[in-house]
Subunit: 313 residues, 2 copies
């Protein structure tokens, strides 16, 4: 699982930070990626990455402010032009369907794939055999959701000593056992998957939160998460603006991660008042409450592997 | 008068060319600039120019395809954030008002300035004491307009030998005479502006055309124009695509400029099939029919001065 940030700014684009969007890259897990929010020029950012719009499987919108959605219509159109023919699922607050319908109609954008718009309420918004996504309301100036993405437990590792003791030959039978299926050997012996594999491996959990004041629902979504992505529009000095504008400080983000017992925090939605050199100062304010913390940058890519979040790009 | 191109591509953004937008810079003439079309990320392009969104006075939309309008909502919002408090006039085909209304409502974008949307029909769409803008329908796959911007004649130049013979002292009286007003000297002598100025100076005329097949209305809009901006999605080799998709070749653009007796041509809306090094080949095809011709590039800026179009950026 990788997370790549496409826009980490607040409100308006600047030269350093675009409006909100991040890609949850599930290329190994499901051969696709998901977007969380899609500010204007998200598709332009993508031109400078390895992300292919045709591999976009789902888009989750936290709220309907322009800096989180104005890149959607262009993305939907370009995905079709660029060979995306599979179904696309779009999740977001009430109002999203009307806007998409009117925009596609007025601009005469004819999609050559199936688009399904889900207007989200609190609870499970998506589930299949390998993932579950839950949403809870946050505390912004308009209806806004945070999302918790859980990968379901993976089959246990093959225990090679037991496999060879059971006389399983190398090849496809091993893969079946690894996937949790029992197999019968050439000599009629039944080998049970459970006897030659370790305990199920836990999947990862990522909480991706929209714009919000400090709120208990954010803590709940982030509970024991491996990675929490939380907005941090302000710092201590500008904290008095957080309440009126419905936003968080970097310390609020750190408090949320700390109370949730999360493993790592990436702060995004950084106000243009902060220059690139202020990242250190923001990280220091967070570190008094929680670590490890990263201050997201546009194009930054993180890998979650073996329990550790590592910046790879 | 300057023209700066912000997006010169066709259909989708590429690394070289953004979707359609150009700025008609009237800073000397009226202290503002006008936009023609506003594809996604036009405001992002503007971040890398000297254009200030608060000086945006009018936006003319040729047609409602996404690559010509998806940057509008973000531009409208940012203009307010960046101190634009004067009225903004938006001109375009029927459907534009509904889309803007729904988009601003759903995204809860509250503009702190007056926005007036004009749904355009053929004829004069704007006129004041110094400019007149006319629109005619073009021949695209959806309703599409071309615009002809005429600057009205300017007062004649002061004839300095006549002024000094009449005994006018240097200072504010000279400015009044230049502006066409008669003045009375200290000794009671009346000096008529008409007696000390040359004939009115012609203003400039620019035709900015939207997506279109070769059509007589484009020739009419471009009649005797100083600058014609015309789409050129295809070349001779790909000409068979122009009809079905409702577009022009570079030769169609040149034919239009030639038949109109225009003074210069800038071709834009260049398909991503053409690489930067193909500009020469496109210009050569045009030059068989009309010159001078320029192939627009993103960020290229042209100045029209003393009857000559010159690239300055
Ligand atoms: Zn926001
Ligand atoms: Zn177009």
């Amino acid at each position: 699982m990788h997370i790549q940030f496409l826009g980490t700014g607040a409100g308006m684009p600047s030269k350093q930070r675009n409006t909100s969007s991040l890609a949850l890259k599930l290329l190994e897990e499901r051969g696709s990626f998901w977007l969380f929010d899609c500010g204007e020029a998200t598709q332009h950012r993508m031109l400078h990455t390895t992300l292919k719009p045709r591999k976009l499987e789902k888009v989750f919108i936290t709220h309907l402010h322009g800096d989180h959605i104005f890149g959607l219509p262009g993305m939907l159109g370009s995905r079709g032009f660029l060979g995306g023919s599979g179904r696309l699922d779009l999740y977001g607050p009430k109002g999203l369907r009307e806007w998409i319908d009117v925009t596609l109609r007025i601009s005469r954008t004819h999609l050559n794939y199936e688009l399904v718009v889900h207007e989200v309420e609190e609870g499970t918004v998506f589930e299949d055999e390998s993932f579950i996504v839950r949403a809870l309301s946050l505390d912004h100036v308009v209806p806004c959701f945070g999302y918790r993405v859980e990968q379901k437990p993976l089959p246990g590792k093959l225990l090679m000593d037991r496999v060879s003791r059971a006389g399983v030959p190398k090849g496809p039978l091993l893969r079946k056992l690894k996937e949790g299926r029992d197999v019968t050997l050439g000599d009629g012996t039944l080998v049970k998957s459970g006897d030659v594999t370790g305990p199920p491996q836990p999947g990862f959990t990522v909480a991706i939160l929209g714009d919000t004041r400090f709120t208990a629902n954010a803590v709940e979504l982030a509970q024991d998460a491996d990675v929490v992505v939380h907005e941090a529009t302000f710092d201590r000095e500008s904290a008095h603006l957080a309440g009126p504008y419905g936003h968080s400080t970097i310390v609020d983000a750190a408090k949320t991660a700390h109370l949730a017992g999360a493993r790592s925090l990436v702060a995004n939605h950084i106000s243009a008042r902060f220059l690139p050199e202020d990242a250190e100062h923001l990280a220091a304010e967070a570190a008094e409450v929680f670590s490890p913390v990263e201050i997201a940058e546009d194009f930054a890519e993180y890998e979650w592997k073996n329990g550790v979040l590592r910046r790879i790009n």
